[in-house]
Symmetry: C2
Subunit: 344 residues, 2 copies
Amino acid sequence: MATFVMQSLGCEVAALNTVNFSNHTGYRQFKGTRATAQEISNLYQGLCQSNLTDFDVMLSGYAPSAAVVEAVGAIGIDLQQKAEKKPGSFFWVLDPVMGDQGRLYVNDDVVPAYKKIIHHADLILPNQFEAEVLSGIKITSLATLAEAITAIHRIYSVPHVIITSVQLFKLSTSGSTPSPPENFLTVIGSTTKSDGSPRLFRVDVPALDCFFSGTGDMFAALTVARLREAVDAAGDNLRNTRSWVSPDNVPSSQLPLAQSTIKVLSSMHSVLERTMEARDAELAKDVPAQNGDVSAEEKQKREHLRRTKAAEVRLVRNTRFLRDPPAQFQVQEWCKEDLPAQLQ
Amino acid sequence: MATFVMQSLGCEVAALNTVNFSNHTGYRQFKGTRATAQEISNLYQGLCQSNLTDFDVMLSGYAPSAAVVEAVGAIGIDLQQKAEKKPGSFFWVLDPVMGDQGRLYVNDDVVPAYKKIIHHADLILPNQFEAEVLSGIKITSLATLAEAITAIHRIYSVPHVIITSVQLFKLSTSGSTPSPPENFLTVIGSTTKSDGSPRLFRVDVPALDCFFSGTGDMFAALTVARLREAVDAAGDNLRNTRSWVSPDNVPSSQLPLAQSTIKVLSSMHSVLERTMEARDAELAKDVPAQNGDVSAEEKQKREHLRRTKAAEVRLVRNTRFLRDPPAQFQVQEWCKEDLPAQLQ
């Protein structure tokens, strides 16, 4: 998912696969292997010895163990050191994949491994649960959401954060920020000012009534391509500025991160809408006849496999929406009065 | 290379990687791992158990050992059996990667492993050397080239063959077929008639003065997409015909395989021309200063790495040429009088 999306947007990608599975885990069964830390480090050494490390962005995603998180972290840190004399020439987007919906799906030791490396990243992309884990703050309201982002900026000195898919309507609101309707998802992002305080923005998008696998990687990969583009468009020599942090006078809605996020979400929504249509058409077909002696459990399993396959993201035939997202979403600034009192 | 090219042309790809290297072997050094036969079979079992094997085309390429050739062969044979009741619903493109320029670059036991599975394939894509190995005929002239293709059709019952990159000007000509100028490469293909005899066509393309890595995979992947398209365009219910073999009245230049090959070569030539330009621009830059104490050998190695990197195929920013190849090449039939006497 991530490799093809970045390539479709013109990025030359060197992919280090951290797993090599027959299918995504949404099927609830798979075969294949996980990369070891040694294998990841070894591949990177191969790139180093042939002078193939002139990357300007690194995207790191799911890692199957704490040791692999460390190995990936060592690569990010090495690339950052190599780029030290040219500010902005290397940018690390880190997706701290740890869990969702209130539970970890990695080993416990992966959490401290991420906590050690995140302060080297330029942008992190936690979901709501991961933001709670990293900030130590339970997100139950807009106020605690803002607190969590502020804490993440402060604890990890990470200049850019996007919290992907917050179910804002489930949170209690504060101040004048209106809640979006129930069938919307909200993405919240922030780039720090020079004093470390957040510049918060939010984008509301209609939620689609379907579970799609790979959307986290799709979001991250689109962000890699679109953020760089927005940074180039921003001028101010931003591309040659450490961590691409905009001057303090840039309001949150005008941040490259905010402008990028609108395009990213538009591409995703367009692709996923078409995926929904194709899924519905697929599921409307007759189910192939089953042998009479199939257990109820087996029938249920087959139906799950069928529904999961039907919901596979229809990416390769919809790349035009990756390249040319329709203008369909807007970014909103989170104004000072919307923030809880202690952050104003 | 192959995965991205097929995806760019709208194919949903499930890739089973037979190697996982840091870089292509043209650099003369690399790190990483080769897949074992067990790993390949295991991934395929994963696809089977979740009903994810509804492939209509399989492309098999480089395999690092005879055991992996067998494992890949077993997958092709299994998919073929599953499709048995629906002729034309599964098509296997097999690139018998064994060597080039007169020498093997795989273990000796890979050759008999390929010879055992090729009769299950629908289309094979040997280069000139591999065609010699498979046919047992040394290709020194147009006559022996035609003999080799005829032999491959006969020995392996394989209905479609393309011999990629023949240096025709080096061969002695026979009959009225004119040789192309020295700076041309020739691609020769054939689809059998119902009596097993070949229908030969040829396409001459200007050669580019550069070694590019991955062009074999690019050719194969483009052929997967374009052949299916040409078969659909051919009508005659060809898509539902076993191995997509055209009726006997279709002349060689009108074969879907021939029509596909023109487009494939046009895409490749356009991408590689742009790669040459980008390479030349890259090599015209100043070489980074080297430390004084670098040995002559080390200098030479670094220069090789630099030149190899500069010649990396510029694919992701030139996908428009994959999607919309300009009409620039023509296919020629090999007429009966061009063939050696015993084949007329």
